[in-house]
């Protein structure tokens, strides 16, 4: 069957070359996820994600870069059936809808890492990228949440901030970076030792914190990497979110095995 669906035209295949490639990727096993939110907490600590407070969080302004989606299948409330927990973070699309709509190149694609970058200093806050993101994973700084002149109770909390990550001010968009500070640190280390980065040498904060090992991070351009191996071992459970949009996400979800 696979050969028949391929195009008869010479030189054309159903999958573009980019779709097969990629540099950094992630596998999330929804059958393992317990919904404990450890990844949410770890990500917020690692990336200086601000705490928005009760009122704003209640109004939907929580700024977590990763969230656990809890959904149920039946809409009639008492007879609900919970589906798997779905950790949702930036899918690092190769063909990202957020990138071309930014007028000031604040949302750009990194050619070397094949990641979506958000350049905070360039952002002027049109919020077009967040509107255009089909996964709704971008977070906007509605206020100066990280400014202790505005929120005096933050003064001591500032001591736990990660010095490797920028603190964002009001009016800019932000999103998951795949912990690019860790990627760069590992790359620098590997370069100084004159070698390639090994798979599993480092991982993102969410994957590191996950007690159920539902999240695995690694290299997509290495056929021996854990990410590739896990997907290859579970081909029937693997899939991308909103595949019909052809955003070519770098995160593969495993679900439906239990």
């Amino acid at each position: 069957m696979a050969t028949e669906t391929e195009s008869k035209l010479p030189g054309f295949t159903n999958q573009s070359e980019e779709e097969l490639g990629g540099r950094w990727g992630m596998v999330i096993d929804q059958d393992l996820c317990t919904g404990c939110q450890a990844c949410v907490a770890a990500c917020s600590m690692e990336n200086n994600v601000p705490i928005v407070g009760e009122d704003d969080a209640g109004y939907g302004r929580g700024m977590h870069w990763i969230r656990i989606e809890r959904l149920w299948e039946s809409m009639e409330f008492p007879e609900v059936k919970m589906t798997d927990f779905q950790p949702l973070l930036c899918q690092q699309c190769h063909n990202a809808p957020c990138e071309p709509v930014c007028p000031v190149f604040a949302s750009v694609h990194s050619a070397s890492e094949d990641l979506n970058l958000q350049v905070y200093n360039r952002c002027i806050g049109t919020r077009y990228c967040a509107n255009n993101c089909p996964y709704q994973v971008r977070a906007f700084n509605w206020f100066d949440y990280n400014d202790e002149r505005v929120y005096p109770e933050l003064t001591t909390l500032h001591n736990q901030m990660n010095p490797d990550v920028t603190v964002r001010r009001r009016g800019v968009m932000e999103k998951c970076t795949f912990c690019i500070q860790r990627i760069h640190k590992a790359e620098d280390k590997a370069k100084s030792e004159g070698r390639e980065i090994e798979d599993g040498e480092f991982t993102t904060a969410c994957a590191q914190a996950c007690p159920a090992t539902a999240i695995t991070f690694g290299r997509l351009d290495d056929p021996e990497s854990a990410v590739i191996q896990i997907v290859a071992a579970n081909p029937s459970r693997a899939g991308h979110l909103l595949e019909e949009l052809r955003t070519q996400p770098r995160i593969t979800y495993l679900a439906g095995g239990v």
């Binding site: 709509v101 000031v104 190149f105 002027i124 806050g125 509107n131 709704q136 509605w142 009001r170």
Partner: protein, 477 residues
Amino acid sequence: MTTVAQPLAQPHGEEHEDPREQLMFDPLPRGEMNRLAMESMYATSWKFWLVTGILVIVILYCLVYQWYILIMEGQGMAGVTRPDYWGVFLVNTVFWIGISHAGTFISAILRVMKVESRRPFTRAAELMTTFGLIQAGFSIFMHLGRVWLIYWMMPIPNVRRLWPDFHSPLMWDLLAITTYVLCSTMYLFLPLIPDLAMARDRTEGGWRKIFYRTLALGFRGTEGEWKNLTTAMNIFAFAIIPVMFSVHTIVSWDFAMATRPGWNSTVFGPYFVIGALHSGMAAVAIVLFIIRYTMKHMEYFIRKEHFNTIAMLMWIVSMAWAYFYFNDYLAPWYGGDKWDKLFQEYQEVGPKAYLWYTMLICNIAVPWLTLWNSKWRQTPWLLAIIGILINVGMYLERYIIIPVGVTINRMPFTWRQYEPRIEIPMTISTFALFLLLYMIASRLIPLIPVWEVQEGQENHTLRKVGKAHIPAISELE
């Protein structure tokens, strides 16, 4: 069998109408008409200053103070949140750009088509274009998270060595709106020159004399000057029509280019243009009503025939809008995409369904049920009410597309209702600023293009054939 002499076929319905009820067949001497236009500009009662004072207070509180808070505190003062990243500020932008389309449509298209009844109210409509675009610009600035960096969207050399991204529909928007502002301001100014020269010659002195002398650019009314002016106006009239169509098409692409259910539609371009004309025509009717009943001598210039013209345009545009709205509705309805279907269901039976039904009533039912009647078409107060209702409907249409529309996305976990907060006073402020600018302009420049009315009256004559007066129109060009 007796033969009774029957009159030959009478022109339909004209036997009861006196042609002199029309402005073009009711000429006044040139000096007299100039005096009327000048007096309407000078006659200012205490009511004018009262309204001006109220508007200034509203602007100081709702625009200056609230915007200060919005900038200093952050965009969170507005009601926008995930997934409603775009809210009422962009509704206002689209609404005011829509209003601004009426001016160009009336003065450029009707001028090119040589519709004679346009003559007395072209300038009133052109002023709406310029002042409406100012409100649209303000609304975009209010929307930005870091408005103080707006110049980063300009393609100017900078120390970051960074060019703006011309892939972004927002950049197309910036270019289109800037072009439109420049063109429409030029197009407002060109037909104004002879009237400014008239005002200069009839002003004794003081700052007004300096103001008119500067702006009239030394226009004396020689043959060559008229020729140049007519050529320039013809070029602009033809050139601005595609600009007008492109502007709202490009505004619609902000939505149509996005990967959102309900927005990603190829018919959005013409649909938005017609929507703009729908609200614009209605706004012209309101403005004509206000001008006629608040300014001196306007009963002479703005007559029932002009309301009739506007009303017929409103009716036709309403039908065209209904066609395009159905067209926009049909594709998702028939196409069967899951998210598009959900989006439509949400409009019709969701918590904001009352907005959808109000929109349909205001935009379709109200004009269709009233404007077929020529008596009602010539009733100014009725037209003003219909105009307000149509504008309410068109505002709701944009509200349904933007904040109600973005509620439905492909991630049901994030669905959330949007509630405007600081947007409400700031929306009021754009209306107040529009009115204030209009009122100031009505004191400074002749709101009636006197020379155009005079030119029209020279072309129109009543020929006496037997006992009947037959209207005759000559073409002088």
